[in-house]
């Protein structure tokens, strides 16, 4: 199946006038893969991110308000933990995002290094600080949650310990990136680290659970939430979704910054920037 005579990339340009001397390659691709190749094109991704951000930001805000109202007001207090359990509505989404973002980062890094896609590297770089902040939030809220419930500001239980190790993995990734001046080398070196890290994540989690079980027997993690009924559950799911949409919204800006860093001399950039 041959591609249309016009380049698949030119349809998607926010700027209809394209200079003849473009630095972008124009692959002839089967049209069913067009969406993938479009997505991998920095100008397309840049434009898409610009357009999507307001939608994502507002959706995330609405979801957060709904979820927070459900969690703080509508959900009935827990029998044992009373109103303190409401902390899970911020702690659990943060913890989930902490892991999800790392996975997304590692997958993007792998795509970037295997298929040499600059955009994938840009995505991975954009993920790291956001994921690290989610991890910090998860740690801090987990610690504060623990104080009234189990009497101490810190416990070495498997969940919070693996969140802590996750933070170390993020910090190491960002430190390695920062130690290279050249963006390309930073991209590729940190991609290797991310892949090695993500292979280790299940190993770390398993080892931490095993380590903890030696002392407590098969008891549940101290940060285990109370058994969730639907009236307690739906705000949690809403907020997890809200955090994901929020992540996408923030990524729009961060991805655009990373694209700008890597596309210094591309002509699409030069035309766009001068006009914006």
């Amino acid at each position: 199946m041959s591609s249309s005579s016009r380049s698949p990339l030119s349809d998607s340009q926010p700027n209809p006038r394209r200079s003849a001397a473009s630095s972008e390659a124009r692959p002839r691709v089967a049209s069913r893969w067009l969406w993938f190749h479009k997505l991998g094109s920095p100008p397309y991704a840049y434009g898409l991110a610009t357009k999507l951000r307001p939608w994502l930001m507002w959706s995330s805000l609405i979801l957060m308000l709904i979820g927070a109202y459900g969690g703080l007001v509508l959900a009935p207090p827990d029998y044992q933990q009373k109103d303190a359990f409401r902390i899970i509505y911020v702690h659990v989404p943060a913890a989930i995002m902490s892991l999800q973002v790392y996975l997304a980062m590692a997958i993007a890094a792998a795509v970037g290094i295997i298929w040499r896609m600059k955009l994938a590297h840009a995505f991975a770089a954009a993920c790291a600080p956001v994921g690290a902040w989610f991890t910090v939030a998860a740690l801090a809220t987990g610690s504060i949650y623990g104080k009234p419930m189990w009497g101490t500001w810190w416990e070495w239980d498997p969940r919070i310990t693996s969140v802590l190790i996750q933070l170390f993995l993020y910090l190491g990734y960002m430190a390695l990136r920062a130690s290279f001046d050249d963006t390309q080398r930073a991209d590729r070196a940190s991609a290797v680290l991310a892949i090695v890290g993500v292979v280790n994540v299940p190993i770390v989690k398993y080892s931490v659970v095993w380590w903890n079980s030696l002392h407590q027997g098969p008891t549940i993690s101290k940060l285990d939430t109370p058994s969730i009924t639907l009236s307690m559950g739906w705000p949690l799911y809403t907020l997890v979704l809200a955090f994901m949409v929020y992540f996408a919204a923030v990524m729009c800006d961060r991805l655009r910054s990373e694209i700008l860093k890597r596309e210094r001399n591309a002509s699409w950039l030069q035309e766009n920037i001068a006009r914006s």
């Binding site: 930001m57 927070a68 703080l72 007001v73 207090p77 009373k82 109103d83 303190a84 409401r86 902390i87 911020v90 702690h91 943060a94 600080p129 956001v130 902040w133 989610f134 910090v136 939030a137 801090a140 809220t141 504060i144 949650y145 104080k147 009234p148 929020y246 919204a249 923030v250 800006d253 961060r254 655009r256 910054s257 700008l260 860093k261 210094r264 001399n265 950039l269 030069q270 920037i273 001068a274 914006s276």
Partner: protein, 71 residues
């Protein structure tokens, strides 16, 4: 539920509200920080583009000295 019980959270108010406050602060920080970095990146890119244009124009007009290095 009245405002009093809402704020006190059956005695755990300090813990619950500090968690929510902390989380909101992190979320707001990330939005603001991403925006700020984007604005800076656009400014940098614009400056670079203008500098390259000047460079090209000068060279096109024949006024540039071969081997002149632009910072």
């Amino acid at each position: 539920m009245n405002l009093q019980s809402f704020l006190s959270m059956s005695g755990y108010g300090a813990y619950v509200w500090s968690c929510y406050g902390l989380t909101i602060a992190v979320l707001l920080w990330n939005v603001w920080s991403a925006r700020r970095q984007l604005r800076e990146a656009i400014v940098h890119a614009r400056r670079r583009t203008e500098a390259q244009r000047e460079d090209a124009a000068r060279r096109g007009a024949g006024a540039g000295v071969p081997g002149e290095v632009r910072s």
